[in-house]
């Protein structure tokens, strides 16, 4: 059997309970200690699973259950305190979509910059440029030489989504971004995601929308306060999550 595309082994990450563990030199020198509370908790612990090539996995769980943290560690933009998350092949992270974009540069320059950050050469971007702009829509196309900050936030997300999904990376991570964009664009996004799936891409999706989860994912992973509680067909996992949520609401 081929090696799994995503391999997560005994993954754990520890956070400080206070929002800011920022230390202050002045305090450390004057009081000899750091006033920020140093109580910690494990946001994720003992997480182990594999995702095979071409699989579509939906991650289910309440707020603060560690879904986004897990996704970030798979994307490699956060590092675990124990265990490891290995991804074989490059990742297209639909996480912080406009993260790589700069307001003062034009949309065109931004496309080249952001695609460059994801490892594309100039020639590769040249070849895909039209596809990206076409997908983002005619309003965007007309303003490609406008500073990026002059675009509306919806337009900004359109360009970013078009760009990242055009990267053609084998693994796609999606964090709640399907809720953005207007109705027409959302339909286009769905279509594109389905194309990616039928094209053999591996999809890892975080969402609170049962509709989205059922539509894209076959397998579900259920996180509850940092632990992996369920792993199975998406319908069963959603049912398990709903049962837990109802039980919590009742108690």
């Amino acid at each position: 059997m081929a090696k799994p595309v995503i391999e997560v082994r005994n993954l754990g990450i520890e956070f400080y309970r206070s929002r800011r563990r920022r230390m202050s030199l002045r305090e450390m020198v004057l009081k000899g200690q750091n006033s920020a509370p140093n109580e910690t908790f494990w946001a994720l612990k003992h997480i182990t699973f594999d995702v095979a090539r071409g699989e579509a996995v939906g991650l289910v769980g309440g707020n603060g259950s560690g879904k986004s943290t897990l996704l970030r560690m798979i994307a490699g933009v956060m590092l675990p305190d124990e265990g490891h998350a290995t991804v074989r092949g490059r990742v297209a992270p639909l996480i912080e979509l406009t993260g790589g974009f700069l307001g003062e540069l034009t949309a065109r320059e931004n496309v080249y910059l952001a695609a460059g950050l994801h490892g594309l050469t100039k020639e590769q971007i040249d070849a895909r440029f039209d596809e990206i702009v076409d997908f983002a829509g005619p309003q965007v196309k007309a303003g490609m030489d406008m500073p990026f900050r002059h675009f509306s936030s919806g337009m900004q997300v359109r360009i970013a989504f078009a760009l990242i999904t055009t990267l053609d990376q084998p693994v796609v991570l999606v964090d709640e971004v399907l809720a953005v964009g207007d109705r027409a664009f959302r339909e286009k996004c769905y279509e594109r995601m389905e194309n990616m799936l039928s094209g053999g891409k591996t999809l890892f999706l975080v969402s609170h929308s049962e509709h989205d989860l059922r539509r894209f994912a076959e397998r579900g992973l259920y996180l509850r306060s940092g632990e992996l509680k369920g792993d199975g067909p998406i319908d069963e996992v959603i049912a398990q999550y709903n049962a837990d949520a109802d039980a919590d609401a009742a108690s």
């Binding site: 230390m23 970030r72 490699g76 590092l79 912080e96 993260g99 910059l113 950050l117 994801h118």
Partner: protein, 266 residues
Amino acid sequence: MIGVSQFRGLMANRQVLRTLVERDLRVRYAGSVLGWVWTVLDPLLMALVYFVVFTLIFTSREAGHQPYFLHLVTGLFLWQWFAQNMSETSRALLSEARLVRSANLPRELWVVRVVLAKGIEFLLTLPVIAAFTIFYMITGQTQLHWTIVFMPVALVLTFLLSVGIGMILAPVTVLVNDMARVVRIALRLGFYATPVLYSADMAPPVLQTLLAFNPMSGILELFRAGFFRGEMNLLSVTSAVVLTIVLLLVGSVVFKRLEPAVLKEI
């Protein structure tokens, strides 16, 4: 070995590094027609001020190497690059927080990229130094020596030293609130603890020994060697090389150690 794998990671992403440096320069020079002029004007005006203060007001005959204005220009230009490296690398991760959070790249890249971009800006100011040198050569006040070959060595050392210290400053600034302030003060003190305005051999012996342990002191010695006749202080040059290597290693260890904590904070 630590450091080697980081270097490999950087080399694998040199295309990205190039993109980022190009972007930095574009943002800097697209914003204003005077972009380049600003880079040159600041140290040039400071050189003029110090020149007036030390030769016209204090009427010091031997403020540094002669011609003194060339001594100031060489020192201030290189110091400006170094000082900007320090203040910019300390903000390198914070100011690009969104990018750091969204792109899976070796995080050292953000430090190297700043030093590289500032380095290119510095290289673009070299013609100004060349112009002054030519002027003083024509008027017979100076001549170039073979030791000019050490100039590129000085630049490589400045680059490596900045990356080394930057890899300590960048993560620490994310975790410690008032680090940026400390860097600012340290830079201001460091300016006078470095033979920018004066030359090291004018200092009393005890201070000379102390100065030798400031890596920028030896680097400046190498940088200026070709412009001015005089013995190079071997102690300070050796210590500059050793300290640069040590700081580069310490920097890569510190960076690796703090990286997970930084990524949680940012």
